[in-house]
Structures are given as C-alpha cells and as structure tokens.
C-alpha cells in the first residue's frame, strides 16, 4: 500500500512536470545548438537583457544553449562525442586548431549583414587569415584581482606576486593548462614567451616546476574557473588571476576588490563564433551569429559580460565606465606587452595538458635536478598495497574453491 502511494505520487509529479514543459516548449520553427563558455551571455536576471530569449522571440527558433569550461573540453567533445553543434565560441588558438583540422565550416558572410559592425582589426587575424571561419565575439586580457582588506592597495604589481608565501592559502590559479602554464612561463627565470609557436620539453618542464612551486610555497588555495566568482565576490580569497571582463564584473559586485594589470603583460585573447562541420542547422547558425552582431544586442551582451567588444557600433553605445576601464577596453601601451596563444603542435599540447594535471595533483618537494611530481616512497607504497590486495584475493579464491570441492565431496557421500 505504501509503495502504491509512492508510485502514485511519482506519477502525479511526472504528469505535472510534463504539462509544465509542454506549455513552455511549444511552437518553435526550428532550433539552433549553441556551445559557449559559462557566464558568457547576458542571462536576463537583475535587469539585464535575456539575449537567448530575445533571439527566440524574434525568430521563433529554439536555442539549445550549453556550456563548456575550457577550450580543451570543447575540443574533446567535438572530437570524441558525436554531438552536433551549430555555433561554437572557441578562443583564438582553438579556432586555429579546429580550422587546421578541417572541423570548421566556412561562414557565408553574405548571410551576416551585421558583419559590417565588426571592427576591421578583428576581421582578419593570425588564427583566421581569410576571416571566413570566424566572427569575433569578444576579446580581452588577463589581469589580477585582489581583495584590498587582505592585501593593501597597490601591493600587487605582477604575476610574480602570486608566488609570494605571504598570501598563505589565498591565491587562485586558472584551472586550465594553457592559461596556467602561460603565467608560470612568464614568471620563470628566464621567462619563456607563452605566445611562441612551439615549446620544447624543457620549457614545459620548467613551467610545471614553477606551478608546483606555487603549491609548495603555500600560497595556492585552489585551481578555479567559474568558481572564482564565488571566491572573490564572497571575499573568500585574496588574489586571483582571471579574465579582464570577469574581473570588472567582480569589482562591481564587491567593493573590497581592486585590480592590477600585471607588469609582465598577459594573454590577449579573442573569442569567436564559428560553425563546426558537424552542424545541422547552418542557416539558423548564421542567423544567430548575425543576431549577436546587432549593435544593441552586442552592447547589451557586453554590458553583462564586460569583456571587450569587437563590435564598433556596439562600443559607441556603451557607457563611459566601460569605455574608460582598462579591463574592458585596455590601453594600447598595455596591449603591446601582451601575447596571443598560437596553435601549438599536438604532441607538445598533450604533454602540456598531462604535465598540468600532474602539477595539480602533486604535493611533493621539488628537487633541483629533476621534476619529481611524486615521491618514490608513495609509488612503492601503492605498489605494495596493490600486491597485497591481489595476493589476498587470489588466496581467498583458492580457499573458496577448495572448500567448495570439499563440500561437494561431502554431499556426494550423503
């Protein structure tokens, strides 16, 4: 009886939620699958414009909007799962990589009249020399944000400050291999240029060592991506390196925060809208891209995400705070110090990712001669545990078989 009640309740829940979703999901003439970074489109709460809802309203096309956290995740999904996306928004080096591997479709710019609003300097670039495979979405720089109640104003001048043991357990680092390695490379002595076309194994080793040092000196609290918002806005941590536009948002939400443009310069990135070859709704994809280039939409979007906008018509609509902030609109002298990521060789790239994961999981001291991400003792310990387990299991199984044979003999006698 009681189980029947539970069953009944469940059926009721199902029916009611089915009606809910039936009401909300009816009557679209098509759909478009968009794959974008998290917190990267104006969502419509707190009086901002709900860009997706606006698109759906204007064109009666359903937007299936999902997020990824890193370029590597995007690549992994496109390659390994058979997902079909219509619009993806990778960063510069990932656009170059996808293009060189033939995974991007040419965009018919004739279908994108709003393309005229995109600033010339963003139309052609190293990663898209013909400009036919991508339409710029946003751009920005990496900077440092810190909490002035924990670190005096003005004390932070560059990435090297992240390695200061004074900030015990208070520093946040990027949770993806390229951004983290790039910062480590800049801080290395002598510094390695993170924007170069290729890295040697030694370069990566040195950068990994630097990252491990960040952990060992006690300052590193956590590796974060989107969680950085909670950490900094909630005054949980003192110092973080993150993307300029997001820092601008954080400053808005927490008065205690301040920022610093690192003296070493940092990564200048451009995120662009692309159409992958696996797309199934190319027309709707181009419609979406065109929509995002509309000056008012681009301005509303930039207003929320606070990243630089490559749309010059939208830039005019922005308020002065935005136009004057070096986080949203960096000055030329800083840009000159910056570098962009190049599309590096596959093998080096995976070595970088692998070393990054190892750097993240290590705790051991770093020897000055070679990189040891783990002590020999712990390897031996694990091997011993494994051996004990396997031997014990084998013994148990053998004993069981012997017992079964003995029992069978006994039953047969009866």
């Amino acid at each position: 009886m009681k189980k029947l009640t539970v069953l009944l309740t469940c059926v009721i829940i199902v029916l009611s939620s089915l009606t809910f979703t039936a009401c909300s999901g009816s009557g679209y003439e098509g759909e478009v699958n968009v794959y974008n970074w998290g917190e990267y489109i104006s969502p419509g709460d707190d009086e901002t414009l709900d860009v997706i809802a606006e698109f759906e309203r204007r064109y009666n096309i359903k937007v299936n909007y999902t997020n990824f956290e890193t370029n590597e995740e995007l690549y992994n999904v496109l390659v390994n799962s058979n997902s079909s996306y219509d619009v993806i928004i990778p960063s510069d080096y990932m656009v170059a990589r996808l293009r060189s591997e033939g995974m991007l479709e040419k965009i018919d710019l004739g279908n994108i009249p709003n393309y005229k609003n995109i600033d010339e300097k963003f139309r052609i670039s190293d990663f898209d020399p013909t400009g036919e495979y991508s339409v710029a979405y946003s751009w920005g720089i990496v900077a440092l944000v810190y909490n002035t109640t924990m670190i005096p104003e003005g004390e932070i001048t560059g990435f090297k400050d992240m390695w200061n043991p004074k900030y015990r357990n208070d520093v946040l680092m990027f949770n993806n291999s390229r951004d983290a390695m790039a910062i480590a490379m800049q801080v290395c002595d002598p510094p390695i240029d993170p924007g170069s076309e290729s890295f040697t194994g030694e370069d990566i080793d040195r950068a990994t060592k630097k990252l491990i040092e960040l952990k060992n000196c006690g300052s590193l609290k956590k590796y974060v991506m989107d969680q950085v918002f909670t950490e900094m806005e909630g005054s949980q941590s003192a110092l973080a390196a993150y993307y300029g536009g997001d820092i601008y948002t954080m400053l808005d939400n927490n008065e205690e925060l301040s920022y610093s443009l690192p003296e070493e310069g940092s990564n200048l990135f451009i995120d662009s809208m692309c159409i992958p070859t696996c797309c199934q709704n190319k027309e709707n994809a181009e419609l979406f891209i065109n929509f995002m280039c509309d000056p008012e939409i681009a301005a509303a979007n930039a207003d929320y995400i606070c990243y630089g906008t490559p749309n010059k018509a939208a830039l005019e609509l922005m308020d002065d705070d935005y136009k004057e902030s070096p986080l949203c609109n960096p000055p030329q002298e800083y840009i000159d110090k910056c570098y962009t990521f190049a599309n590096i060789d596959d093998q080096i790239y995976s070595e970088m990712q692998e070393k990054f994961v190892k750097a993240c999981s290590s705790t051991a001291e770093v020897s000055s001669i070679e990189i040891k991400t783990t002590s020999v003792e712990s390897k031996i310990a694990v091997a011993v545990i494994l051996a004990i387990v396997v031997i014990a299991t084998v013994i148990v199984i053998i004993l069981d078989i012997r017992r079964a044979v003995k029992n069978r003999g006994r039953i047969n006698k009866i």
């Binding site: 590597e72 992994n76 609290k221 590796y223 712990s378 545990i385 396997v390 014990a392």
Partner: protein
C-alpha cells in the same frame, strides 16, 4: 457395470495423465532459465564489455599497441591514491564510531519509534548529494556562520579547503549508510540475550564485548563496505570542500579528458584495490557467520 467402471477408470487415468503432463510442462516453465536470457545478454554488453574495454585501454597506447607505459604514468598519481585511501579510512572509522552507539540506542526503542527515527534519518539521504555538499560549502566558507563564531572566540583558521572539511563532508554524506545496516542487524539482537548475560553477572562492558559486538559484525561489515567504497572513489567532494589536494576520483575524471589510456590504467588499479577489499570483507564476514 463393468463398462462403466472401465470408462470411469480410463477417464480418471487420462485426466491424471493430463495433469502430470501439464505439471511437467509448466514446471519447466517456471524452472526454465530462459527468462534470464535478456538480462544475461544485457550484462554482457553493458557490464562485462565496458570493463574489458577499460582493461584494453589500460594496457595499450593510442595506437593499440601493448604497453605498460600507462601504469608508469598512473604511478605518478600514487600520492593522490594514498591520500584518497587515507581520507576514506578516517571517514569510515569516524562514521563507524558515531553510528554504532546510535544504532544500538535506536534498536532498543519501540518498533513504532524506531521506524519514525529511521524515516527521519533517511530524509537527508534522499536529498541530492551535491546539494548537501554545497550546503557545507556555504556553512564552512570564510565569513560564513561557523567562521564568524570562531572569529568571535579569536580563532582564525580556515574551515574550508582542507582535509578536515573533506572528511566532514564525507561523514555527512555517508553516516546514514553506516547507521542503517548496523541498526537492522542490531534490531535482530534479542533483548533476552542481553538480559541473560546480565543475569549471569556480566558488567555492561562485558555484555557489549561478548554479546552485542560479535552479533553486530555482519552489520558493521556491511556498513563499512557501503561507506569505504564511495568515499575512496568519490568524485566531487574534494573539488567543493578541499583545497589543492585532489582525490583519485577527480584525477580520473580530469585525466580522462585528454588521455583515455592513462585514465583507464588508474581506474583499473582503483577497481582492483576496491574489489579486493570487498572480497576480503566478504570472506571475513563469512567466517563470522560460519563460526556462529
């Protein structure tokens, strides 16, 4: 007369023949192994084949050639592995210590009270796993309630981002899993046994050692198994509550994003250790059952 008898007899014999035939037919229907065929096929495809694939990926490189390199790579994560086992062990022990007396107290209540208490214990279990961890993030965060209280006393310690927070999170998640099996075994321990022991002159501690403890062993084993396995292999608790030290579940997920082979190697090692542990526990439990 004779003809009637023969016709009745033959009718009766024909009828019983019918029944016997039916019986053998239908006995074979309920006794047949055929109903299990769909599931056996399913098991093959969705349980055995994936595990074989894990083994395959663990022992080959990206080109399909046999290699032991993946294990070499995986051994770099030995520290993480030991740390996970360490956290799992502590969490399991604390859960056991907390749950054991509680189960006993509950089992001595009236049946009605027991079912109410058990029901209230199960409600948090049904809540979503991540939401419960998230709750602890909110509680333990800097400038959260606990931190404020400690600051008032003058203690300035970070409550989150360390092993302690992870252990608290694990205990919170899995305590009901330890309480339920121990309780179900304890509730079967007859009060009269305890009374008899007391009548024979045993002190409270002796009663515990000689009567309650041995009888509750199956429950303890069940509970330990149900807590140790998830805590050792759990996936997100360290990311939410921990600091820079990852646990093996997080490492597997992360490595899998770029390298299926090394990831499979680590997963294989984890599986072997856990399964070995379970076989051992099982055997240990069986021995107790046999001894009784």
């Amino acid at each position: 007369m004779r003809t009637n008898r023969t016709s009745t007899e033959s009718f009766a014999s024909r009828f019983s023949l019918e029944i016997r035939k039916r019986r053998t037919e239908s006995r074979s229907a309920i006794k047949s192994k055929r109903p299990s065929i769909p599931y056996l096929g399913w098991m093959l495809v969705f349980t055995i084949v994936p595990l074989v694939m894990v083994v395959y990926y663990a022992f080959t490189d990206t080109n399909g050639r046999f290699t032991l390199d993946n294990f070499l790579n995986a051994s770099d994560y030995s520290e993480v592995f030991l740390y996970s086992l360490y956290v799992a062990l502590i969490s399991t022990l604390i859960c056991l210590v907390l749950a054991y007396p509680l189960s006993f107290f509950i089992s001595r209540c009236t049946a009605r009270k027991q079912s109410i208490i058990i029901m209230f214990l199960m409600v948090p279990m049904w809540m979503n796993f991540l939401l419960r961890i998230y709750a602890w993030v909110l509680i333990l965060q800097n400038y959260g309630p606990f931190d404020m209280i400690l600051n008032l006393i003058g203690v300035d310690v970070s409550l989150i981002g360390n092993t302690g927070a992870v252990v608290v999170g694990m205990i919170y998640e899995f305590l009901p899993f330890m309480i339920l099996p121990i309780h179900s075994v304890m509730s079967k321990i007859d009060d009269s046994l305890i009374e008899a022991a007391q009548d024979l002159g045993c002190s409270g501690f002796y009663v515990f050692r000689k009567v309650i403890l041995p009888l509750s062993v199956p429950g303890i084993i069940s509970g330990v198994t149900m807590v140790f396995v998830p805590t050792a292999s759990t996936f997100l608790v360290a990311q939410y509550l921990g600091g820079t030290q990852f646990m093996i579940g997080d490492v597997i997920e992360r490595v899998f994003q770029s390298d299926h082979n090394t990831g499979s190697a680590i997963a294989l090692v984890l599986m072997v250790v856990i399964l070995g542990f379970l076989v051992f526990m099982n055997r240990f439990g069986d021995k107790e059952a046999i001894a009784q």
